[in-house]
Symmetry: C2
Subunit: 207 residues, 2 copies
Protein backbone atom coordinates (compact mmCIF):
# COMPACT_ATOMS: atom_id res chain seq x y z
CA UNK A 1 0.00 0.00 0.00
CA UNK A 2 1.48 3.32 -1.05
CA UNK A 3 1.92 6.16 1.43
CA UNK A 4 -0.93 8.25 0.00
CA UNK A 5 -3.35 5.33 0.18
CA UNK A 6 -2.26 4.64 3.72
CA UNK A 7 -2.87 8.28 4.58
CA UNK A 8 -6.36 8.29 3.03
CA UNK A 9 -7.24 5.02 4.76
CA UNK A 10 -5.97 6.28 8.12
CA UNK A 11 -7.84 9.56 7.80
CA UNK A 12 -11.08 7.76 6.96
CA UNK A 13 -10.63 5.29 9.83
CA UNK A 14 -10.21 8.23 12.18
CA UNK A 15 -13.33 9.88 10.76
CA UNK A 16 -15.33 6.67 11.14
CA UNK A 17 -14.21 6.35 14.74
CA UNK A 18 -15.23 9.98 15.32
CA UNK A 19 -18.63 9.34 13.76
CA UNK A 20 -19.14 6.24 15.87
CA UNK A 21 -18.37 8.28 18.99
CA UNK A 22 -20.61 11.21 18.08
CA UNK A 23 -23.36 9.28 16.30
CA UNK A 24 -24.62 7.41 19.34
CA UNK A 25 -24.90 3.79 20.33
CA UNK A 26 -26.78 2.43 17.34
CA UNK A 27 -23.73 2.39 15.08
CA UNK A 28 -21.77 0.13 17.35
CA UNK A 29 -24.84 -2.03 18.07
CA UNK A 30 -25.63 -2.86 14.45
CA UNK A 31 -22.35 -3.37 12.73
CA UNK A 32 -19.43 -2.32 14.86
CA UNK A 33 -16.66 0.12 14.03
CA UNK A 34 -14.64 -2.56 12.25
CA UNK A 35 -17.35 -3.26 9.69
CA UNK A 36 -17.92 0.47 9.13
CA UNK A 37 -14.25 1.18 8.62
CA UNK A 38 -13.86 -1.78 6.26
CA UNK A 39 -16.80 -0.58 4.16
CA UNK A 40 -15.71 3.08 4.06
CA UNK A 41 -12.09 2.14 3.39
CA UNK A 42 -13.20 -0.07 0.51
CA UNK A 43 -15.25 2.78 -1.01
CA UNK A 44 -12.35 5.27 -0.63
CA UNK A 45 -9.65 2.99 -2.08
CA UNK A 46 -11.59 1.64 -5.08
CA UNK A 47 -10.13 2.98 -8.29
CA UNK A 48 -10.21 2.13 -11.99
CA UNK A 49 -7.86 -0.73 -12.92
CA UNK A 50 -6.95 -1.34 -16.56
CA UNK A 51 -4.04 -3.84 -16.49
CA UNK A 52 -4.37 -7.36 -15.18
CA UNK A 53 -2.40 -10.53 -14.50
CA UNK A 54 -3.31 -13.78 -16.24
CA UNK A 55 -5.06 -15.14 -13.11
CA UNK A 56 -8.67 -16.05 -14.03
CA UNK A 57 -11.72 -14.91 -12.07
CA UNK A 58 -13.45 -17.98 -10.63
CA UNK A 59 -17.15 -18.74 -11.19
CA UNK A 60 -17.75 -18.48 -7.40
CA UNK A 61 -16.30 -14.97 -7.40
CA UNK A 62 -18.40 -13.97 -10.43
CA UNK A 63 -21.53 -15.19 -8.62
CA UNK A 64 -20.74 -13.02 -5.57
CA UNK A 65 -20.36 -10.00 -7.85
CA UNK A 66 -23.70 -10.70 -9.55
CA UNK A 67 -25.45 -11.11 -6.19
CA UNK A 68 -23.96 -7.80 -5.07
CA UNK A 69 -25.22 -6.17 -8.28
CA UNK A 70 -28.75 -7.48 -7.78
CA UNK A 71 -28.79 -6.18 -4.19
CA UNK A 72 -28.89 -2.60 -5.51
CA UNK A 73 -31.96 -0.44 -4.96
CA UNK A 74 -34.32 -0.18 -7.93
CA UNK A 75 -37.23 2.16 -8.67
CA UNK A 76 -40.59 0.51 -7.85
CA UNK A 77 -38.67 -2.75 -7.29
CA UNK A 78 -38.71 -3.39 -11.07
CA UNK A 79 -35.14 -4.78 -11.21
CA UNK A 80 -34.67 -3.91 -14.89
CA UNK A 81 -31.18 -5.41 -15.06
CA UNK A 82 -29.67 -8.33 -16.88
CA UNK A 83 -26.01 -9.32 -17.04
CA UNK A 84 -23.76 -10.98 -19.59
CA UNK A 85 -20.62 -12.56 -18.13
CA UNK A 86 -17.75 -13.00 -20.58
CA UNK A 87 -14.60 -14.97 -19.78
CA UNK A 88 -13.73 -16.45 -23.21
CA UNK A 89 -10.74 -14.74 -24.80
CA UNK A 90 -12.31 -14.67 -28.27
CA UNK A 91 -15.42 -12.86 -27.03
CA UNK A 92 -13.34 -10.38 -24.97
CA UNK A 93 -11.34 -9.64 -28.14
CA UNK A 94 -14.54 -9.13 -30.17
CA UNK A 95 -15.81 -6.68 -27.53
CA UNK A 96 -12.48 -4.81 -27.59
CA UNK A 97 -12.84 -4.50 -31.38
CA UNK A 98 -16.24 -2.77 -31.13
CA UNK A 99 -15.34 -0.74 -28.00
CA UNK A 100 -11.74 0.50 -28.32
CA UNK A 101 -11.78 2.03 -24.81
CA UNK A 102 -12.85 -1.16 -23.04
CA UNK A 103 -9.34 -1.99 -21.73
CA UNK A 104 -9.92 -5.69 -22.35
CA UNK A 105 -6.43 -6.51 -23.69
CA UNK A 106 -5.27 -8.17 -20.46
CA UNK A 107 -8.65 -8.59 -18.72
CA UNK A 108 -9.74 -12.10 -17.77
CA UNK A 109 -13.45 -11.32 -17.38
CA UNK A 110 -16.10 -8.74 -18.21
CA UNK A 111 -19.64 -8.22 -16.99
CA UNK A 112 -21.92 -6.29 -19.33
CA UNK A 113 -24.70 -4.61 -17.33
CA UNK A 114 -27.86 -4.22 -19.41
CA UNK A 115 -31.34 -2.78 -19.01
CA UNK A 116 -34.40 -4.76 -20.12
CA UNK A 117 -36.97 -2.37 -21.59
CA UNK A 118 -39.65 -5.08 -21.53
CA UNK A 119 -39.79 -4.80 -17.74
CA UNK A 120 -41.59 -1.45 -18.06
CA UNK A 121 -45.03 -0.40 -19.25
CA UNK A 122 -44.59 3.27 -18.33
CA UNK A 123 -42.46 5.72 -20.34
CA UNK A 124 -41.46 7.89 -17.38
CA UNK A 125 -40.58 4.95 -15.13
CA UNK A 126 -38.58 3.35 -17.97
CA UNK A 127 -36.05 6.19 -17.75
CA UNK A 128 -34.99 4.95 -14.31
CA UNK A 129 -33.25 1.94 -15.87
CA UNK A 130 -30.01 3.96 -16.12
CA UNK A 131 -30.05 4.83 -12.41
CA UNK A 132 -30.92 1.29 -11.32
CA UNK A 133 -28.29 -0.34 -13.52
CA UNK A 134 -25.70 2.24 -12.41
CA UNK A 135 -26.35 1.39 -8.75
CA UNK A 136 -25.96 -2.32 -9.58
CA UNK A 137 -22.69 -1.52 -11.39
CA UNK A 138 -21.28 0.39 -8.43
CA UNK A 139 -22.15 -2.53 -6.13
CA UNK A 140 -20.24 -4.88 -8.46
CA UNK A 141 -17.20 -2.56 -8.56
CA UNK A 142 -17.12 -2.28 -4.77
CA UNK A 143 -17.56 -6.02 -4.24
CA UNK A 144 -14.82 -6.71 -6.80
CA UNK A 145 -12.41 -4.35 -5.06
CA UNK A 146 -13.11 -5.97 -1.70
CA UNK A 147 -12.22 -9.36 -3.19
CA UNK A 148 -8.86 -8.14 -4.49
CA UNK A 149 -10.04 -7.75 -8.08
CA UNK A 150 -9.47 -4.68 -10.18
CA UNK A 151 -12.16 -3.34 -12.50
CA UNK A 152 -13.12 -0.38 -14.62
CA UNK A 153 -16.56 0.92 -15.67
CA UNK A 154 -16.46 1.38 -19.46
CA UNK A 155 -19.45 3.35 -20.71
CA UNK A 156 -21.48 1.89 -23.59
CA UNK A 157 -24.89 3.65 -23.55
CA UNK A 158 -25.68 6.33 -24.74
CA UNK A 159 -22.96 5.97 -27.41
CA UNK A 160 -25.05 4.53 -30.25
CA UNK A 161 -22.09 3.02 -32.11
CA UNK A 162 -20.87 1.21 -28.99
CA UNK A 163 -24.39 0.02 -28.17
CA UNK A 164 -24.76 -1.42 -31.70
CA UNK A 165 -21.32 -3.06 -31.56
CA UNK A 166 -21.80 -4.69 -28.16
CA UNK A 167 -25.33 -5.76 -29.13
CA UNK A 168 -23.98 -7.51 -32.22
CA UNK A 169 -21.10 -9.30 -30.44
CA UNK A 170 -23.35 -10.56 -27.62
CA UNK A 171 -26.48 -11.20 -29.77
CA UNK A 172 -28.56 -8.97 -27.48
CA UNK A 173 -32.28 -8.79 -28.34
CA UNK A 174 -33.78 -5.40 -29.21
CA UNK A 175 -35.30 -4.84 -25.76
CA UNK A 176 -31.90 -5.19 -24.06
CA UNK A 177 -29.66 -2.08 -23.88
CA UNK A 178 -26.04 -2.49 -22.71
CA UNK A 179 -25.33 0.34 -20.25
CA UNK A 180 -21.69 -0.49 -19.66
CA UNK A 181 -19.00 -3.10 -19.76
CA UNK A 182 -17.16 -3.81 -16.50
CA UNK A 183 -13.65 -4.90 -17.41
CA UNK A 184 -12.00 -6.95 -14.67
CA UNK A 185 -9.23 -9.23 -13.49
CA UNK A 186 -6.53 -9.35 -10.82
CA UNK A 187 -4.56 -6.07 -10.88
CA UNK A 188 -1.11 -6.00 -12.43
CA UNK A 189 0.77 -3.56 -10.17
CA UNK A 190 -0.17 -1.08 -7.44
CA UNK A 191 -3.04 1.36 -7.89
CA UNK A 192 -3.37 4.87 -6.45
CA UNK A 193 -6.95 6.04 -5.90
CA UNK A 194 -7.75 9.64 -6.83
CA UNK A 195 -8.62 12.02 -3.99
CA UNK A 196 -11.81 13.62 -5.37
CA UNK A 197 -13.02 15.33 -2.18
CA UNK A 198 -14.18 18.87 -2.95
CA UNK A 199 -16.10 20.73 -0.23
CA UNK A 200 -16.97 23.50 -2.73
CA UNK A 201 -19.68 21.34 -4.34
CA UNK A 202 -21.50 20.91 -1.02
CA UNK A 203 -24.29 23.28 0.02
CA UNK A 204 -26.21 23.35 3.30
CA UNK A 205 -29.99 23.77 3.72
CA UNK A 206 -30.20 25.35 0.25
CA UNK A 207 -27.94 26.41 -2.65
CA UNK B 1 -30.94 -9.36 13.33
CA UNK B 2 -33.82 -11.39 11.96
CA UNK B 3 -33.42 -15.03 10.95
CA UNK B 4 -33.62 -14.31 7.21
CA UNK B 5 -30.94 -11.61 7.42
CA UNK B 6 -28.77 -13.96 9.44
CA UNK B 7 -29.21 -16.63 6.79
CA UNK B 8 -28.34 -14.24 3.93
CA UNK B 9 -25.32 -12.93 5.81
CA UNK B 10 -24.11 -16.45 6.64
CA UNK B 11 -24.54 -17.61 3.06
CA UNK B 12 -22.60 -14.63 1.73
CA UNK B 13 -19.83 -15.09 4.29
CA UNK B 14 -19.51 -18.70 3.19
CA UNK B 15 -19.39 -17.61 -0.46
CA UNK B 16 -16.73 -14.99 0.28
CA UNK B 17 -14.64 -17.59 2.10
CA UNK B 18 -15.06 -19.93 -0.87
CA UNK B 19 -13.98 -17.18 -3.27
CA UNK B 20 -10.97 -16.36 -1.11
CA UNK B 21 -9.96 -20.03 -1.22
CA UNK B 22 -10.47 -20.42 -4.98
CA UNK B 23 -9.44 -16.93 -6.07
CA UNK B 24 -5.79 -17.24 -5.13
CA UNK B 25 -3.49 -15.46 -2.73
CA UNK B 26 -4.05 -11.87 -3.86
CA UNK B 27 -7.41 -11.58 -2.13
CA UNK B 28 -6.01 -12.32 1.28
CA UNK B 29 -2.91 -10.22 0.62
CA UNK B 30 -4.74 -7.02 -0.22
CA UNK B 31 -7.64 -6.81 2.15
CA UNK B 32 -8.18 -10.04 4.01
CA UNK B 33 -11.31 -12.13 4.26
CA UNK B 34 -12.70 -10.01 7.10
CA UNK B 35 -12.74 -6.83 5.03
CA UNK B 36 -14.26 -8.65 2.05
CA UNK B 37 -17.00 -10.21 4.14
CA UNK B 38 -17.79 -6.89 5.85
CA UNK B 39 -18.11 -5.16 2.47
CA UNK B 40 -20.21 -7.88 0.86
CA UNK B 41 -22.40 -8.25 3.94
CA UNK B 42 -23.00 -4.49 3.96
CA UNK B 43 -24.04 -4.56 0.29
CA UNK B 44 -26.37 -7.52 0.84
CA UNK B 45 -28.08 -6.18 3.96
CA UNK B 46 -28.62 -2.57 2.79
CA UNK B 47 -32.31 -1.90 2.27
CA UNK B 48 -34.61 1.10 1.95
CA UNK B 49 -35.50 2.65 5.33
CA UNK B 50 -38.43 5.08 5.59
CA UNK B 51 -39.06 5.51 9.34
CA UNK B 52 -36.54 7.07 11.70
CA UNK B 53 -35.94 7.89 15.35
CA UNK B 54 -35.42 11.51 16.44
CA UNK B 55 -31.62 11.02 16.73
CA UNK B 56 -29.88 13.61 14.52
CA UNK B 57 -27.16 12.77 11.99
CA UNK B 58 -23.93 14.50 13.07
CA UNK B 59 -21.93 16.80 10.75
CA UNK B 60 -18.96 14.39 10.98
CA UNK B 61 -21.15 11.55 9.74
CA UNK B 62 -22.54 13.70 6.90
CA UNK B 63 -18.98 14.51 5.82
CA UNK B 64 -18.07 10.82 5.65
CA UNK B 65 -21.11 10.21 3.44
CA UNK B 66 -20.16 13.08 1.11
CA UNK B 67 -16.57 11.81 0.85
CA UNK B 68 -17.91 8.35 0.01
CA UNK B 69 -20.14 9.89 -2.68
CA UNK B 70 -17.27 11.77 -4.27
CA UNK B 71 -15.14 8.61 -4.36
CA UNK B 72 -17.43 7.18 -7.06
CA UNK B 73 -16.13 6.62 -10.58
CA UNK B 74 -17.04 9.30 -13.11
CA UNK B 75 -16.84 9.41 -16.91
CA UNK B 76 -13.68 11.25 -18.09
CA UNK B 77 -13.11 12.25 -14.43
CA UNK B 78 -15.57 15.16 -14.87
CA UNK B 79 -17.16 14.77 -11.40
CA UNK B 80 -20.43 16.42 -12.43
CA UNK B 81 -21.96 16.15 -8.96
CA UNK B 82 -22.99 18.65 -6.35
CA UNK B 83 -24.81 17.98 -3.09
CA UNK B 84 -27.29 19.84 -0.93
CA UNK B 85 -27.40 18.69 2.70
CA UNK B 86 -30.65 19.45 4.52
CA UNK B 87 -31.10 18.98 8.27
CA UNK B 88 -33.49 21.84 9.12
CA UNK B 89 -37.02 20.62 9.83
CA UNK B 90 -38.66 23.47 7.88
CA UNK B 91 -36.70 22.68 4.72
CA UNK B 92 -37.35 18.93 5.05
CA UNK B 93 -41.08 19.73 5.33
CA UNK B 94 -40.93 21.97 2.23
CA UNK B 95 -39.25 19.15 0.28
CA UNK B 96 -41.90 16.69 1.46
CA UNK B 97 -44.57 19.11 0.18
CA UNK B 98 -43.13 19.13 -3.37
CA UNK B 99 -42.17 15.43 -3.36
CA UNK B 100 -44.93 13.43 -1.64
CA UNK B 101 -42.95 10.16 -1.91
CA UNK B 102 -39.83 11.47 -0.22
CA UNK B 103 -40.56 9.80 3.16
CA UNK B 104 -39.23 12.84 5.02
CA UNK B 105 -41.88 12.88 7.79
CA UNK B 106 -39.55 11.39 10.42
CA UNK B 107 -36.20 11.85 8.63
CA UNK B 108 -33.52 13.92 10.36
CA UNK B 109 -31.44 14.60 7.23
CA UNK B 110 -31.52 14.51 3.45
CA UNK B 111 -28.84 14.75 0.81
CA UNK B 112 -29.98 15.92 -2.61
CA UNK B 113 -27.61 14.60 -5.28
CA UNK B 114 -27.45 16.94 -8.28
CA UNK B 115 -25.75 17.09 -11.67
CA UNK B 116 -24.03 20.29 -12.82
CA UNK B 117 -24.57 20.71 -16.56
CA UNK B 118 -21.94 23.46 -16.74
CA UNK B 119 -19.23 20.87 -16.20
CA UNK B 120 -19.74 19.60 -19.76
CA UNK B 121 -19.07 21.02 -23.20
CA UNK B 122 -20.07 17.87 -25.08
CA UNK B 123 -23.69 16.76 -25.57
CA UNK B 124 -22.98 13.02 -25.60
CA UNK B 125 -20.70 13.12 -22.56
CA UNK B 126 -23.27 15.24 -20.68
CA UNK B 127 -25.64 12.28 -20.66
CA UNK B 128 -23.27 10.41 -18.33
CA UNK B 129 -24.22 12.71 -15.44
CA UNK B 130 -27.03 10.32 -14.48
CA UNK B 131 -24.68 7.34 -14.27
CA UNK B 132 -22.00 9.26 -12.34
CA UNK B 133 -24.47 10.72 -9.85
CA UNK B 134 -26.13 7.32 -9.42
CA UNK B 135 -22.79 5.73 -8.54
CA UNK B 136 -22.17 8.52 -6.01
CA UNK B 137 -25.65 7.92 -4.56
CA UNK B 138 -25.05 4.20 -4.14
CA UNK B 139 -21.75 4.92 -2.35
CA UNK B 140 -23.61 7.23 0.05
CA UNK B 141 -26.32 4.61 0.71
CA UNK B 142 -23.73 1.91 1.42
CA UNK B 143 -21.64 4.16 3.66
CA UNK B 144 -24.79 5.23 5.54
CA UNK B 145 -25.82 1.61 6.11
CA UNK B 146 -22.35 0.72 7.40
CA UNK B 147 -22.61 3.56 9.94
CA UNK B 148 -25.95 2.31 11.29
CA UNK B 149 -28.02 4.86 9.40
CA UNK B 150 -31.07 4.03 7.33
CA UNK B 151 -31.73 5.74 4.02
CA UNK B 152 -33.89 5.58 0.91
CA UNK B 153 -33.19 6.77 -2.65
CA UNK B 154 -36.17 8.90 -3.70
CA UNK B 155 -36.14 9.60 -7.43
CA UNK B 156 -36.50 13.22 -8.57
CA UNK B 157 -35.20 13.41 -12.18
CA UNK B 158 -36.66 12.74 -14.78
CA UNK B 159 -40.01 13.65 -13.15
CA UNK B 160 -40.32 17.26 -14.34
CA UNK B 161 -42.78 18.29 -11.63
CA UNK B 162 -40.50 16.96 -8.87
CA UNK B 163 -37.44 18.57 -10.47
CA UNK B 164 -39.22 21.94 -10.55
CA UNK B 165 -40.45 21.60 -6.96
CA UNK B 166 -37.07 20.60 -5.50
CA UNK B 167 -35.32 23.30 -7.56
CA UNK B 168 -37.67 25.94 -6.12
CA UNK B 169 -37.33 24.83 -2.48
CA UNK B 170 -33.52 24.67 -2.65
CA UNK B 171 -33.02 27.69 -4.97
CA UNK B 172 -31.06 25.57 -7.43
CA UNK B 173 -29.62 27.46 -10.44
CA UNK B 174 -30.72 26.42 -13.95
CA UNK B 175 -27.57 24.38 -14.64
CA UNK B 176 -28.15 22.17 -11.58
CA UNK B 177 -30.50 19.18 -11.96
CA UNK B 178 -31.56 17.27 -8.82
CA UNK B 179 -31.28 13.54 -9.61
CA UNK B 180 -32.61 12.29 -6.30
CA UNK B 181 -33.20 12.98 -2.68
CA UNK B 182 -31.60 10.60 -0.18
CA UNK B 183 -33.83 10.54 2.88
CA UNK B 184 -31.99 9.43 6.02
CA UNK B 185 -31.84 9.06 9.77
CA UNK B 186 -31.38 6.34 12.39
CA UNK B 187 -33.83 3.49 11.65
CA UNK B 188 -36.94 3.11 13.76
CA UNK B 189 -37.33 -0.68 14.01
CA UNK B 190 -35.79 -3.69 12.31
CA UNK B 191 -35.42 -3.86 8.53
CA UNK B 192 -35.56 -6.93 6.30
CA UNK B 193 -33.57 -6.66 3.07
CA UNK B 194 -35.19 -8.10 -0.07
CA UNK B 195 -33.57 -11.16 -1.63
CA UNK B 196 -33.38 -10.06 -5.29
CA UNK B 197 -31.04 -12.79 -6.59
CA UNK B 198 -32.31 -14.12 -9.91
CA UNK B 199 -29.98 -16.37 -11.93
CA UNK B 200 -32.37 -16.19 -14.91
CA UNK B 201 -31.16 -12.69 -15.81
CA UNK B 202 -27.55 -13.88 -16.12
CA UNK B 203 -26.12 -15.00 -19.46
CA UNK B 204 -22.68 -16.44 -20.18
CA UNK B 205 -20.40 -15.50 -23.11
CA UNK B 206 -23.41 -14.19 -25.06
CA UNK B 207 -27.20 -13.87 -24.73
Amino acid sequence: MKLKNLFIASAMLFAVLMAACTGGGETADRAGVDESSAVINNIMTRTSVRRFTSQPVSPDTIEILLKAGMAAPTAKNIRPWSFVVVTERAVLDSLQAVHPYSNLATATAAIIVCGDMQKYDDDILRQYWIQDCSAATENILLAAHSLGLGAVWCGVYPGQERVAGVRKVLSLPGNIIPLNLITMGYPDGEQTPKDKWNPEVVHYQKW
